[in-house]
Subunit: 340 residues, 2 copies
DNA sequence: GCTAAAATAGAAAGCGATTTCTGTGTGATA
DNA sequence: TATCACACAGAAATCGCTTTCTATTTTAGC
């Protein structure tokens, strides 16, 4: 491929008959330049299709207007929606972002982050659902060099900003809601290895225990898997369990599992919410695409993303690191009803 | 936030007691360096946590290992899945990528692209469903400076690589499949303003005409909208139309619409596929998450993405631009059956 | 042992910008 | 009219790296 060389500031200067300093000044508009010189330069710029080289500029100014984003992957809409929020906020501030997928692998996560540092990003947003994966040391050293924002993990590394929401509270709210509908026999479904699941299970145990109705066999762990395959795992497991355990409600750790539960019920000929109620978590778009639409606890991924990005940019500009907790709001839809 | 300054090559050189050239050489390993010097340098590097500044390197070598990606947005899983494929391929070659969302707005698309050029990306992948949006001139000038790959539009700009698949053929295959199942009364549902929809409608018209059963009222245009709201638009429109028009099958331009059709049928108390068959297009993950799972025409978004990325990298390394057409494969699932 | 070739290392130029430091004209002020 | 401030523009240093171009060792070949 025959790539034409980009015009540089020197070319523009030559064409306009001025020094490079002057060109730089009209481009940046931070220094007085006489009107007609300015115009001559502008003409040269547009006739040469000149676009200033951001890398050179950033090298010189030791600033960077790109941030890095590390997520497990995009096969799970959760992350796609978060990124949507990041993109939105980031663009408004004239930043760009580099996206990396770490596939839930701590090795890849570290590599990704090093690559971002090497690329001189001015800040990094990390979503890493499983914080046991990561080395605190690694992040402590990292945050000394570049502002960091975590989304939705349970990181206590000092100096690291955080945005998430209180999932323990959210789970309690979900359980209370179900309980208020008259449900006592509530199953809990979770996946393997995630802080989020652990927190939610804790909330479930406490709640059920307080109600005197905790049953170990009501707790279902469908194992690993982070993408859409979760749906089928949940469905398969539940299809066998529901007839035997006869819960009146199923409280799921995320919407994917809830869809799996819904599909299991359909296959079993159970009517939702008449025969059984299903509660999701997250409010990914999928939850309102299926029929009936799933009642769920909103995490507002877009907000998660845009808040993280805004916070990061604040930090980049020297702001204090902080922790932002978003509100839990229960989205009542069609998969929950009163217990018969 | 108190950001520690990154160690530079000069710091390393000083610490190791060698010249910067030597440090550069052990980092890049492209020039002989004595074993013990090498070790001294390596020690200095790790003790200083030195990470070479990619921007400086790229400025010097006039190479860049980041590419740019422009998509309409991520609220539609189609694009998320494509990006997943891009990420995968790109990472394997040591590249990074900048992601931009253009929201189907030609202005934003051009801005995004200029921002990418300014950031010195070595190539750009563009997904722009509506090619009427774009200015051919703009892209013609662009491709003279940087390799370009389009995904899934109908661009005929010379020198621009392309990966997509023959949607006309795909639509024909879908229709033939439905026809083979005995369906004659086949509705067609599309959205507004997209080359892809136009192509598919053309295929539909030709097919139905050839069968002598083209009916204008069987063609439904649900209007604009690119995200998940498509599902409800399709559902709402179809809920009124199906009882009146009594089609035995519905052929949709994408899976979102198919899910909408499915939901409409559920609400109307129609059993799918017993009473009516539904056919999607794309094979986004949603299509196999709903119950019953949707029969669809696979576009293999992951392949679309990874092929585009590989092709782009090939072009960056000097390869000829080319057009790659992926195979259409019909994924027979649970929403289609023989016509009664 | 002597010379040619290879291995090894430093100095310095250059990548494309920004910005400080200087130096001019010019209009306003005294 | 002399002076001062300011508007305007260029020269040159600098950012962190790679890569010639040189210069010095080693090593090899005979």
């Amino acid at each position: 491929m025959d790539v034409k060389k980009q015009a540089t500031i020197v070319d523009v200067a030559k064409k306009a008959g001025v020094s490079v300093a002057t060109v730089s000044r009209v481009v940046n508009g931070n220094y007085p330049v006489k009107q007609d010189t300015k115009e001559r330069v502008k003409e040269a710029i547009s006739s040469l299709n000149y676009v200033p080289n951001v890398q050179a500029r950033e090298l010189n100014t030791r600033k960077s207007s790109t941030i890095g984003v590390v997520v497990p992957g995009l096969h799970n809409m959760f992350f796609a929606e978060v990124i949507d929020g990041i993109e939105d906020a980031v663009r408004q501030d004239g930043f760009s972002f580099l996206l990396n997928c770490a596939k839930n692998d701590p090795m890849q996560e570290m590599n990704a982050i090093n690559a971002l540092v090497a690329r001189n990003v001015s800040g990094i947003i990390v979503i890493s659902p499983n914080t046991k994966n990561i080395s605190e040391r690694f992040y402590e050293e990292l945050v000394a060099r570049v502002p960091l924002v975590f989304i939705n993990g349970y990181h206590r590394i000092k100096g690291v900003s955080y945005v998430g929401n209180d999932e323990k509270l959210g789970s309690q709210m979900a359980l209370e809601y179900l309980s208020g509908l008259g449900h006592k026999d509530i199953m809990f479904v979770r996946g393997a290895k995630s802080d989020s699941y652990d927190i939610k299970e804790e909330a479930y145990r406490q709640f059920m225990e307080a109600n005197g109705s905790l049953r170990e066999d009501y707790i279902l762990n469908i194992g690993e898997g982070n993408g859409v395959e979760t749906v089928d795992s949940a469905m398969n497991a539940l299809q066998g369990l529901i007839p035997r355990l006869k819960p009146t409600a199923i409280c799921c750790c995320n919407d994917l599992m809830a869809v799996g539960a819904l599909n299991a019920c359909k296959r079993l000929g159970l009517s939702v919410p008449k025969d059984i109620s299903i509660m999701g978590y997250d409010n990914i778009s999928l939850s309102r695409l299926v029929e009936p639409k799933i009642t769920t606890m909103d995490q507002n991924m877009f907000q998660l993303g845009s808040n993280a990005a805004k916070l990061l940019i604040e930090n980049i500009h020297g702001g204090q690191s902080k922790r932002i907790m978003l509100d839990n709001v229960l989205i009542e839809r069609e998969t929950t009803g009163i217990s018969m």
